[in-house]
Symmetry: C2
Subunit: 312 residues, 2 copies
């Protein structure tokens, strides 16, 4: 329950959905809503309160039993139907829904996410003029100075109680670190890597290779690249959404830190460029493989390298 | 790797083992040592450095490959043999060992622990005059004032963004919370619940019912009982060991908080008495069922209750 509470207490996450729903009644009034991965049913309750005609809340875990009780306790049994089961296996009592709402995002947007399930539900049940909430998700990249933590997290293995465990360093380097980054560590601009349109994309669009160009905003060192995501609800009366970036209020998703083999010495105005490839691991599709190519041809530093990471 | 690092950086844990080994060479000099669940091989390295004749380091995870490389890098290939496999399935090249060392303890001592594996190794390979390190582990109990966190963790469910989710409270109450307790929260004495002698006990001894009597050291409220464990190495030249209690330097094991249904109003000198039953869950033996009976017949509070908890 403590993990569940951490998500609910993430006010950036939960209040954003609440604001989207309560400030945009027109999207829900007399509409049929499908809540994918409903958990406690919190989003379904917001939708019911906003005037939805009916909400189908699908949840495959034991939490579905709790959601049923919560719906009843709060007097929404007539409006919300909790269905315990997998989206891919259950049957809906209606042929089409007007709205699909879901909080499907994982760390690094795509790690252990429910996106495929949302796309499955969209293709099967969403009416032609229906909306998916959120409908846009984007992945962003920036570069940080992180001498202290890299020393602590990576160089640590050079001398562990007097023993050389540097072979573990290679493994540690390949493991993206989910952690909160201080915005003062940011050395370059922040670049949009990839936008996904949840209302149109296919499952395969979550695997991609994209280029980046990060321009230094000051003379500094770069120890790591940092990825984060934004989501937006473009069907609202005015654009709404939230960012999980280091310049925004921190969320339970934090940021994803990819340490670099090299310490890059970068001068203001110089560019670190390259590409990022994201794909599900072939053996274990729940794992995510990230390949990073980066290069700098600067005044004080010339580097070109490819690094592989695995989120698991 | 970050979890592994957290354990190694737990200096109470790792330095205790290091001190036991390096300050008690007589236990290791020219002895055959078995390291159960060796991980990176850190304990094996300590033992080899302390003069062990040979160390067999058993590790069933992929970490065994790292341990092999670490042993080689540090020049101990002649002394340490890393065996990748399950203790219950592997064969040792020697009939008997003089020392079994292991860091097998889980949260609440017994959650997801490797004790059974250590006992298996002991019964199969330990010489008659051999030693197990550590050889004693004890579970302790105390009571704390925790108004703020109980409100935050448990009462939270009464009103979640305006909805009544109190049915989740029952579930949350059943979930022991692994967290660090401030020693100023302690209201009563700390009581030894159970001592386990790893050199003699059987696997079934890890399930038990034990009585307790906690005496208030001040007028206060009790919101939770707190369990923690100590381990000791009684075969050392002088007694060594460490505590994971709230009065000691904190470890990655923290403490285990069991919230009470009642807020107990207790006066200095009054007693909260009862019993604790600990057993593996019959369906899922990795889960631990804890039953707590407690009663107080005090000046300002009379309560008698039974509560069930499940660690999973």
């Amino acid at each position: 329950m403590y993990w569940l509470q951490e998500m609910l207490k993430d006010v950036v996450r939960t209040r954003s959905y609440q604001n989207v729903i309560t400030q945009n009644n027109f999207l829900f009034k007399d509409k049929i809503v499908l809540d994918v991965g409903a958990g406690t049913g919190i989003l379904s309750l917001f939708c019911a309160k906003a005037g939805a005609k009916h909400v189908y809340a699908i949840e495959c875990s034991q939490m579905a039993d709790m959601a049923k009780e919560i719906v009843k306790t709060n007097g929404f049994s007539e409006v919300i139907t909790v269905i315990k089961g997998k989206v891919e296996e259950i049957e809906l009592p209606v042929p089409k829904v007007d709205v699909i709402i879901s909080e499907w995002m994982g760390y690094f947007l795509l790690f252990e996410n429910m996106l495929d399930t949302v796309l499955f539900a969209r293709d099967k049940w969403l009416a032609d003029d229906g909306v998916v909430l959120p409908d846009k998700a984007s992945l962003h990249l920036t570069a940080i100075e992180d001498a202290e933590y890299k020393e602590d997290k990576i160089e640590f293995w050079n001398n562990v109680y007097g023993f050389d465990m540097s072979c573990i360093k290679k493994q540690a380097m390949m493991e993206p670190l989910v952690d909160t980054v201080d915005q003062n560590q940011i050395v370059t601009n922040c670049q949009l890597l990839k936008t996904m349109d949840i209302s149109k994309m296919s499952s395969g669009d979550a695997s991609f290779t994209v280029p980046f160009k990060l321009v230094a905003e000051r003379n500094d060192f770069i120890h790591a690249l940092v990825a984060y995501f934004n989501v937006s609800f473009t069907k609202c009366h005015k654009l709404m959404g939230f960012s999980t970036g280091p310049r925004s209020k921190s969320t339970h998703w934090k940021q994803t830190v990819l340490y670099l083999e090299d310490v890059v010495t970068i001068c203001e105005g110089e560019t670190l460029s390259g590409s990022m490839t994201v794909a599900n691991n072939k053996k274990n599709p729940r794992d995510i493989d990230i390949t990073l190519k980066y290069a700098i041809n600067g005044n004080r530093c010339k580097v070109s390298r490819t690094q592989h990471y695995k989120m698991r």
